[in-house]
Each structure stands twice: as C-alpha cells, then as structure tokens.
Amino acid sequence: MQLYDTTVQSRLLLGTALYPSPQVLNEAIAASDTEIITVSLRREVASGADGGPDGRSGAGFWDSLRATGAHILPNTAGCHSVQEAVTTAQMAREVFDTSWIKLEVIGHADTLQPDVFGLVEAAGILSRDGFQVFPYTTEDLVVGERLLEAGCEVLMPWGAPIGSGQGLRNPDGLRAMRAHFPDTPLIVDAGIGRPSDAAQAMELGMDAVLLNTAVAKAGDPALMAAAMAQAIAAGRAGFVADPMERRNMAVPSTPVLGLAELA
C-alpha cells in the first residue's frame, strides 16, 4: 500500500492511547505487525528529559515509540478550529520529525464528528506548507473531492464515532467512496470495535483500517491486536478474490446431474 511516497505492507494503523501500561502498548504494537502508529501532543507537565512519570508522555514515551521502528503519524486530536489544527500540525512536525499529519478538525463535542468545512480549509493550508495530510473525514463524496483538490492523497472516512466501537454505520457510504475514488487510498478511521468490523471494512475495498480503542480496551490487547491483523488480512484477501454474488434463493452446490432416484 502506497501512502504518499511511503510503501507499507501492513494495512493496520494502530493508535497508542488508552493502554493499561506502556508495556502492554509495546506488546500490542508487536502483535499487530503495524508499520504506522498514531501519536499526539499535549501540554508538557513534567520537566526534564525523562518525560511523564507514567511513561505515557514526554521524551521517554517518544523514545520508546521510536524504538518500535514504526512510521509515526501525529494527530491533531482535540482541535476544534482551523488555527488550532494548523498550529498543532506545525508543532507536531518539529517534535516528531515527519511531514505526515492525521488531520482532525472536530465539529461536535458529543459525536466527535469532523467539521468538514474547517477540515478542507486546514488541509489546503497544510498541504501548501508541505505536509502530507491524512484527513479524518466523513463518507461524503463531495467533501472527499474537495480534500483531494486541497492536496490530500489519502482519505480517512469514519466508520462510527471515535471510541464507540459500533463498527461500520454506513457501509453503503464507504462502498460509494470506493467506487468514486478508485485510485485514492481509503483508510477507515474510528468506530471499529471487533475483528469482524475490520474485516468488513476491508471486504468493502478499503485500503486499510486505523483503530485504537478496540485493541487498547480489550481484555487482552496484544491478542486483539493480532486478531485485528488477521481479520484485516482476511478481509483484504476476500476483496481481492472477488466474492460471489449474493442470491435470494438456495442453489445446490452438489451437482444434481447423476443424482440417484431412490424414492
């Protein structure tokens, strides 16, 4: 899979938040085989090079993530305005030394749905400034077109509200996106709860899945990370293999020809 000028094998992008401990996070990253992990920026609380006292923030946290060898995708989570998102992206580029940015401009505090108007504006500003933008968007096709016009080469439609684990609330919308943007990498971001949700996204032809809470809040995060990786690989193979058409009625699979008359 090609994302801007980077090629990756894994189609799972993994978030680094909400794990019970930094060790469990590292186990989950390893088990997932992910090549891209998402991170954020928050106010510095501790001073000194050791970073946060819990190992979940600061320079120590950053060092441990770098050690995984994964590509770093910083986000602008929590930003509600274009200015906030742009400034956060610029800060992230310096700290994480990458031009990738997972652009979130949140439009509603309850649903955490994207403010697509601000998103398009911010995507344009950042793309012109040399960023490679991964926009967290809805399945709206016109918004997707505007994002591509703004310079995005990847689209990340939501599956369901962030952290809800509801699975894909609008599979038809994602299917329409696939048909409308056949050559643009599409990554379902947010809403995945179970491996079957991730497999469904891949069967719809999505290029990848970005998830966090589904793994971090599982009873066994490392096992769930592995399960997600398997589901994504299976779903992808299922899409590429071109599934049979659904039928309304039964059709015998065992040949009728040569059937004995025993009645």
């Binding site: 991170v39 920026l41 000194g48 320079a59 986000n75 400034t87 700290v95």
Partner: protein, 65 residues
C-alpha cells in the same frame, strides 16, 4: 513579567523564549512551542521576545489515537 504557560500564570525573568523555557525547567528535546496561538520553531526561540500577558503553549509527545 507574568505570562501564561500552558494556561497557568507564571512570573518569569527571561525576555526571550529560549531562556524562559530553561527558567521554567522545560529542557526536554521533545518539546514544541506556540506563542499566542502561533507556532514558534526551535530555531526562532532565541529571537522571540516575550511580553506581559503572553500565552505560551509548550507541548510534548503523548499517546494518541
């Protein structure tokens, strides 16, 4: 002078951003700064003058989804 550092009022002596960070003990290499909502790169900290009432944000890496 009094400035807001990550929304907390602080009284600092330093006139420039790079010295203020040192004074505040914010010496980690993994920090990014914004003054009054505008990003200030590492390279520009020494030339960035602080003023009374400035809002300084100092951010560091954190878990994220």
């Amino acid at each position: 002078m009094k400035i807001l550092v990550n929304a907390t009022a602080r009284d600092i002596q330093s006139g420039t951003l790079d010295k203020a960070l040192a004074e505040l003990g914010m010496t980690s290499p993994a920090l990014a700064t914004a003054l009054n909502g505008i990003f200030v790169s590492r390279a520009k900290r020494a030339d960035t003058q602080l003023s009374e009432g400035d809002r300084l944000e100092v951010l560091s890496p954190m878990q994220g989804g």
